[in-house]
């Protein structure tokens, strides 16, 4: 009996491993839900891909996504190891509350998962200069348009230990050829301001921060104080958020925070996403009632679509183009209340999702746009993904 068991287990192990290989080819997953991305698929074998090693790399990545229980295995590992690390860290975090303490790929400062501040070095200046030149060229080419820029300062812009600012927003303000009073930023000067406006576990601004951003951006665009939308209430959704920083630090569902939102009475509007009519952008209207909805910034406010058009049919108002990164997701609907049509473009996704390249000249002409708002954080103003064309 002992020998039979030993043999059965040995054969079972080999067959189980073989099953994993077949699984990858016969039952591949399209989405890796745990890691929030498309699942890697088994690569096609060619002589060239084998010789350059890309087949081998792809094969290993595909196995990691496709073998049975792979996501559960990663989740279990992450949850256990992060819980252990948290328990170990507790005394240190209490002692070093006002210091950066490393945690996974990020840092913890006073219970918040944070990024460390950047340095405005030659590399970053070079990236910013390229973007400034790009934007200034657009401004010069379109004297008929009014350009505005809003910069979202966050943890990467200030050192909470020393209070030193990176100075990126100020560098941009100096470099951009904007009309006076057309640049503004969310002013995060210290940790108190940061913790009021940002999530603990996600890199985005929270409900308070995004509302503050909306107020400041709207003021920049000439919306008067009494026209602003005012929250009808603040609601605890009863769900816990474990956002992007928790994910990158392997702490999804280990480090969580209450997901609170502000509610508004939005004016009626039509929404078109990537050329198709949609009932709404985001799930603000249904989220509280639908308890099955998962707490996440993009799920609540809306995703990074290539193009979103809000139409309030107030033809007496301007049409505005908002070009930004994911920070604009939480303010688009609020801003759209003040315009006839609000066009939101995410340059990372525009071409892939609409099937055509984004050309500013053609776009503003075709849509009767008179104002352009640039809105985003450091990445938006420094990375080539967000470069405007024409």
């Amino acid at each position: 009996m002992k020998k039979f068991l030993d043999r059965a287990v040995a054969v079972g192990i080999i067959l189980f491993l073989l099953l994993g290989l077949f699984w990858m080819y016969l039952r591949p997953d399209k989405i890796n839900t745990y890691e929030n991305r498309y699942a890697n698929q088994a690569p096609r074998l060619t002589a060239a891909s084998y010789l350059d090693g890309s087949f081998q790399d792809g094969f290993d990545l595909a196995l990691a996504d496709q073998i049975p229980f792979s996501q559960r295995g990663k989740r279990t590992y992450n949850e256990k190891s992060t819980a252990l690390l948290r328990a170990e860290l507790k005394p240190l975090l209490e002692r070093e509350r006002y210091k950066y303490v490393s945690f996974g790929t990020d840092w913890i400062y006073n219970d918040y998962l944070v990024y460390k501040p950047q340095t405005l070095d030659d590399t970053l200046k070079g990236e910013l200069d390229a973007k400034i030149t790009n934007i200034n060229n657009c401004i010069a080419a379109h004297p008929e348009l009014k350009f505005y820029a809003y910069y979202v300062k966050r943890d990467m812009d200030v050192d909470f230990e020393t209070g030193m600012q990176t100075g990126e927003a100020e560098y941009l303000e100096q470099g951009l050829d904007l009309a006076s009073g057309s640049f503004s930023c969310l002013n995060i000067g210290d940790f108190a301001a940061y913790s009021k406006n940002f999530y603990k576990t996600d890199h985005h601004w929270n409900a308070q921060g995004s509302y503050e951003g909306y107020r400041e951006a709207a003021a920049l665009l000439g919306v008067s104080e009494n026209e602003l939308l005012v929250p009808t209430g603040e609601a605890d959704t009863g769900r816990q958020l474990s956002g992007s920083k928790a994910a990158s630090s392997r702490a999804t569902s280990v480090i969580t925070e209450p997901f609170s939102v502000l509610t508004f009475d939005y004016p009626a509007e039509d929404v078109t996403i990537n050329g198709k009519k949609a009932s709404a952008y985001g799930k603000e209207d249904t989220f509280l009632a639908d308890t099955a909805q998962k707490a996440s910034y993009a799920n609540y406010y809306g995703e990074d679509y290539g193009e979103i058009i809000f139409d309030t049919h107030r033809t007496d108002r301007d049409n505005i183009l908002v070009i930004g990164d994911s920070y604009d997701n939480a303010v688009l609907r609020l801003l759209s209340a003040h315009f006839n049509k609000t066009f939101s473009v995410d340059l990372r996704n525009y071409q892939t999702q609409t099937g055509k390249p984004f050309r500013l000249s053609e776009y503003v002409k075709a849509n009767g746009i008179t104002k352009v708002l640039l809105i985003g954080g450091s990445s938006f103003y420094s990375k080539p993904d967000f470069t405007l064309e024409g």
Binding site: K2, K3, D6, L21, E35, N36, E88, L92, F103, A298
Partner: protein, 460 residues
């Protein structure tokens, strides 16, 4: 391809095992092993497979000439010498040319080191030399010789299997269930040593040595050196366990490569227990032919120095490896000629502490290739600097978790298993099988975790 990868576990190992046992014929089974061995090597180094084939061809042709010149000693010796020189030249060009030219100020194109070249070159040399000495018979089938050279379990990290060891089993071996199940368990044990222990204690050394702060003092550097000492043992002996285990699964019986080296009570004993296949290779193919201890004390000292200098640079083309080899030459000479007999009279614990102290310091020499970094590490280890542990942990909290693996590693490098009384019968079998299945599952989970790659800008 490495054993501790998903590709090996989910593709290579089950496929080669199933296809091997589907074939009933010995030649077909050897064919399966050969094809998979070549796939295994080419997976990571498609281009360098040609070098491997060429080295095996050199040995094959050299072997045929040596065999044909059996009655003509001079021709036989010349054939052996030419073959050995060609093989060593091959090794020199790919492993040492850049280092030598760099030190002579000559600029040469950077040459990528082919994986496992030191191991397979020494294996081939053992075949050629043993054939010359008449200790083994010529292999007239190139494919079988190629299988010996390229056999995937021991191809990239040893043990250095001599042709003599597997000569008979290449042609006729009998696989059985005990070997298969025992081999698979040995493989899982080796995988666990590598994935669960070596990879984690490695982080301790890496984090501390990479730390740029002044927080890392004497205590931290000793912890780092201990971590590396454990890492290299579990990494290397884990690979040897996996190789020996897989060999058994296919009916091959390789010699042991490690025998609990960290229980040694002298440096001499340590080298009887550590990387046995390498130390015995140098003993049989370099030390004894040089005269060993048969030509007087002065010659023995010279022979020991030569062997250990070669042992050092076999591990890598850098000055620290040479220094590491010479370091052991000095220690072994001191034990042999100066204090060895006094050492034996000391209590066991002191002898063990002495041996582990020098082994530990030796691994610092071995680990730190950069001379400035090595000098800094040794200075901090031996000149007291306080360690700000809070600062060390704050700068990289992963260290806190990785440190938990140190005591586990210390226990596991002792012969604890030998002292455990096996439980007889079915309950024992159930416990053992649950243990190995659990260990494998844990290893897979740890390997999977390294592929964790969340995309924060998608669908959150």
């Amino acid at each position: 391809m490495v054993f501790s990868s998903l590709t090996f576990l989910y593709f290579f190992l089950p496929c080669v095992t199933v296809l091997y046992y589907v074939c009933k014929n010995r030649a077909w089974r050897n064919g399966v092993l050969l094809i998979f061995s070549l796939v295994f090597y080419s997976w990571g180094e498609p281009k360098y497979i040609l070098l491997l084939l060429l080295a095996a061809a050199e040995a094959y042709i050299g072997g045929l000439i040596i065999d044909a010149a059996a009655q003509r000693p001079r021709r036989k010796k010349t054939a052996m010498a030419v073959t050995a020189v060609l093989l060593l030249a091959n090794l020199f060009v790919f492993k040492y040319l850049g280092f030598v030219c760099g030190n002579l100020g000559i600029r040469v194109r950077e040459i990528i080191l082919p994986i496992g070249i030191s191991f397979y070159t020494f294996q081939i040399l053992s075949y050629v030399i043993d054939l010359y000495r008449g200790k083994t018979r010529v292999q007239k089938n190139y494919l079988l010789l190629l299988l010996y050279v390229s056999f995937f379990p021991q191809l990239i990290a040893g043990p250095i299997v001599r042709y003599q060891t597997v000569e008979r089993e290449m042609a006729s071996r009998s696989e059985n269930w005990d070997d298969f199940t025992g081999g698979l368990r040995r493989f899982v044990t080796g995988l666990a040593k590598k994935v669960l222990i070596a990879n984690n204690v490695a982080q301790v050394a890496t984090i501390i040595y990479a730390g740029n702060t002044d927080a890392h003092g004497t205590a931290a550097y000793w912890v780092a050196s201990l971590a590396y000492t454990l890492q290299i043992y579990f990494d290397f002996s884990g690979y040897s366990d996996m190789a020996i285990g897989m060999g058994r699964m296919f009916g091959f019986h390789f010699l042991e490569n490690f025998d609990y080296p960290y229980i040694s009570k002298s440096i001499t004993e340590f080298w009887r227990r550590w990387h046995i296949s390498l130390s015995t290779w140098f003993r049989d193919y370099v030390y004894i032919p040089l005269g060993g201890n048969r030509k007087g004390a002065a010659r023995q000292i010279l022979n020991i120095c030569i062997v250990w200098a070669l042992t050092g640079i076999w591990h890598g083309a850098a000055w620290n490896f040479l220094a590491w080899g010479v370091y052991y030459a000095v220690l072994l000479l001191l034990e042999k000629f100066v204090y060895g007999k006094y050492l034996e009279k000391l209590p066991g614990f002191f002898r063990w502490f002495y041996a582990m102290f020098f082994v530990n310091v030796g691994w610092v020499l071995f680990n730190l290739v950069d001379v400035a970094e090595l000098e800094k590490a040794l200075r901090i280890m031996f000149v007291w600097h306080s360690t700000d542990w809070a600062g060390v942990f704050a700068s990289n909290t992963a260290l806190m978790t990785e440190l938990l693996y140190l005591p586990i590693a210390v226990v596991c490098c002792l012969p604890v298993k030998k002292k455990l009384r096996p439980i007889d019968g079915l309950p024992g079998a159930i416990i053992e099988n649950v243990w190995y299945v659990g260990l494998l599952a844990l290893c897979i989970m740890f390997i999977l975790s390294s592929s964790y790659n969340p995309f924060i800008y998608f669908r959150f």
